[in-house]
Homo-oligomer: 358 residues x 2
Amino acid sequence: MLERFKVPIEDRVYVPLEKARSATEAVFKHAGLDDAGAKQCADVLITNDLRGVESHGISNQLRNYMRLYGEGKLNPRPDIKIVRETDTTALVDSDGALGIHVAPDAMRMAIAKARKHGTATVAVTKAGHLGGAGYHASLAAKENMIGQAMAGPGGTQTLPTVGAEPRFGTHPVAWAAPARNQPPFLFDIATTQVAGNKIQLARRVEADLEPAWIAGMDGEPILERVPVPETYYQLPFGGTRENSSHKGYGMMSMIDIMCNTMTGVGAGFLTGGGGQVFVATDIQAFIDLDEYFDWMDKFLEGLKNTKPAKGHDRVLYPGLSEWEETQERTKNGIPYHREVVEWFESYAAEIGVDVDLR
Amino acid sequence: MLERFKVPIEDRVYVPLEKARSATEAVFKHAGLDDAGAKQCADVLITNDLRGVESHGISNQLRNYMRLYGEGKLNPRPDIKIVRETDTTALVDSDGALGIHVAPDAMRMAIAKARKHGTATVAVTKAGHLGGAGYHASLAAKENMIGQAMAGPGGTQTLPTVGAEPRFGTHPVAWAAPARNQPPFLFDIATTQVAGNKIQLARRVEADLEPAWIAGMDGEPILERVPVPETYYQLPFGGTRENSSHKGYGMMSMIDIMCNTMTGVGAGFLTGGGGQVFVATDIQAFIDLDEYFDWMDKFLEGLKNTKPAKGHDRVLYPGLSEWEETQERTKNGIPYHREVVEWFESYAAEIGVDVDLR
């Protein structure tokens, strides 16, 4: 993550991993989830926080989720149904569950089918927020498969290239692949220039946005550095047409087609979307694992040993710095913004749940 | 394609579709391919030319291909072997064939497996140039599936984000999806800021490159508009880190892993790469085709009816302008640069093949 998005040192409260985890489980249970569901949801948020992906951890998400459960917009005890199924595919109706509640099981279903048949794709409908695509893709990597996860949310945020009306959300996608001696590969992005939640985060830490990160309400990309404005639209990655924003726009479109059109949900900008897709591909269907791991370690080593350009310390590969952050935070705790910890404590007190975060 | 890449009007020679096709088939046959192979190769190049993707048509590719056949670096009569196979996957050794020669059959194999089981992934090794990923992805769309195609070439062109040594080629990827009343969706890109062959094209038509399209040999992105320099590196899409080039870099990495590491070829920058992957996903495994087509037409209509930003005529969706170009060129011929037609005629004369392009 760019430096400017980090919580300023003076605002940090370091919360030990297991305290953060049990407090999060407790509030999910209070929202009505069963033990396994609460455990699963907490694990997604805490894993994101450990990786340093604050935009998809407790800070930005937990209060939204609790509000939506409170308003009855998320179903804590979903009746999950398989609508259609083949050897290698399934369409799953998640009955209004939170994405982080049902997506891991959907990926596990894809993994089981891929183990038997080689590759598999499971799609989920009527689900809430995916909570970042990376967690779910990684489940496949842990089983020695290539994992892909993506979600097609609504369409009120992001403009198509040269458009002046929004047609997409942040339409996240992730791919994960295992390694033997190197930290695993995890490529996990919003297909916008910047994750929607990072804009909230920038607002909280009073960071500027870069040129061509957002557009005005007339659709024109804002080409200066600016603080987060009151109203704005997001742009597909690339930002402007000259800078390949049609590639971000195309990725969003592909994600929307697979998540929403292929599943019968209907385009995000017409229906609010909510489809999610999980793909698992078994490496051993192609080559032996030993051979794969030999090459994978060489590939990742080669990337991180690339000579950096002037002014840069080192070259990263996707997932490397998040893995390093995970080691650091597992040991020393997760540096939440004090405002987040205060919210968590006061929310827990309000609902009568005991939490201990300090 | 940006206006500047088009062949200037005064340099255009319009060649009728069927003349271009039979001349191209003739030179492939002369290179040693059998009738079906020559027909297949010509169809890929001509389809790209019809779509207006000159970078992957006759202009930039045919003479390279002929040179490589001449030098014995491509095998015109490959002995294609299935190395490993499951219900839904295959690893295919293409025995040094040109990518456009073997990739369509690999995608057809994926389609047949997906028809039976829901989804399938076929990987090809030891193949030459893919000739653009879009053609192959479209084969699945024509069979009412979602198609994906990608290739992991060598690693001498493109820098990782903030790197000063190249690790990738242009690592193309495409997704295609069918529609009923609207022109089909076809998202077909290089994961660089600009397709490598477009830089050759820019050189030929003396067009400038945009800021952050390329980097100097020290790895620093060139942030001005410049004519094509003698030597340069390419950048992942996004261009600079601030502008999300890590997203292009991550896509390239994922493509390299699936095409080269998962297939045992080994990283493009270590081995020269050459792996290719084709994925077909049967829409009917998820929903009925009628329902899919209803939503798909609404999705594509919604995109193209988006109000454009100031200074723009209309919003396109991936594949739309290429489809329009195909209608136009099928009727009026393909506008090749006269230098290309002259090369084609003199090459054909040299090898003693009769061609009629005018």
